[in-house]
Symmetry: C2
Subunit: 207 residues, 2 copies
């Protein structure tokens, strides 16, 4: 049996090489810069070899993000311990912003592109996907804030709260990624904007 094991090991080895090469291109230059032929060149295989390991380019990059997004999950993990719901909310927002700025191309693909809901997405729905876990954490925090009567009494829908807070936070990152530096605006720093937006949102929702 050792022989098919070695084969499997070899397979995994070049699969990893592909992912590593793609990751480097993707992180530095984004989705379009990752071309099958460029990956092939850097790992010194032909482009078609990649298709022996990944269904298509989309599957490749999706897998890439799946792995890398663990850092978002970890950031959320270390924030989940905060006992005060509103303070936890603030930390969730800040961790989310930090991730987006550290991995702008990952962020763009995960949260700024239309992802078709194919079978694969539905299959892994509800567990394992870091953004799902992230949303769950956010949702629970909102629920807790409601239950402890920390928010305005008319705010009773945790999903609505979560989505509004997420939207505001996402907006900070998304604008920074897409538009920051355009010369017709005197840009304020990401940190300032993020802090003000998140604080304003929490403040504005408070009882």
């Amino acid at each position: 049996m050792s022989i098919s094991e070695r084969r499997e090991r070899d397979r995994l080895k070049i699969r990893t090489k592909i992912l590593d090469a793609a990751r480097e291109l993707f992180a530095a230059e984004g989705y379009d810069a990752v071309t099958m032929r460029r990956i092939a060149d850097t790992i010194e295989y032909s482009a078609t070899t990649i298709y022996l390991h990944f269904k298509d380019k989309d599957a490749l990059i999706r897998e890439l993000c799946r792995v890398d997004a663990l850092s978002l999950a970890q950031a959320f993990q270390s924030v989940a311990a905060e006992p005060e719901p509103l303070e936890r909310l603030r930390k969730i927002g800040m961790a989310y912003v930090a991730f987006g700025i550290e991995h702008p191309n990952h962020y763009r693909l995960m949260f700024m592109s239309n992802r078709k809901n194919d079978e694969a997405d539905l299959a892994e729905m509800g567990h394992g996907k870091p953004e799902t876990d992230g949303y769950a954490l956010l949702l629970n925090t909102c629920r807790e804030a409601i239950d402890r009567q920390l928010l305005a009494p008319e705010l009773t829908d945790p999903d609505l709260l979560a989505q509004a807070f997420w939207a505001a936070t996402h907006g900070v990152v998304a604008i920074h990624i897409a538009l920051y530096g355009d010369p017709w605006i005197e840009w304020r720093s990401l940190e300032e904007t993020a802090e003000l937006t998140i604080n304003a949102m929490i403040n504005g929702l408070k009882r």
Copy 2:
């Protein structure tokens, strides 16, 4: 002189045909769906003809958006009359959201893509661009709110305020365009989310 006038008329005619064909494709299917050859087919010219009227694909679509974005400017126009700064802020946000949902592909190109700051952009900087005017309106409203002491006393930077408010509003639209419908979230309606986010922001910034 009537002959060169007729020529100019003809030129403009097919230029408009190009723009119309491109607009239909763009509004329905987005940037990538607009291919030079597809435009050429629908207007029954060869693809290269388009290059006699537009420098390249980017210039074409940019011109498209420039024209269509007038509706955003108009929406802002009709909102600028509101005398109460905070109410005006709210209306600005709602108008912005409405535009984004009505023209998602325009919105995506204008606010969710990296636009390189080429010469052309710098040339028309500061006037005419609806998003510039929009930002100016937002900025003035923030300044007025500060001057009238409607906001928390530590909030003294109108640019920072404008950018935070813009970010929150943008987030509502951007998430809706990119992610709405993903099955792992129980989505709330755009109207609800927009209203809550905008109100929370204004509320959270108030004195």
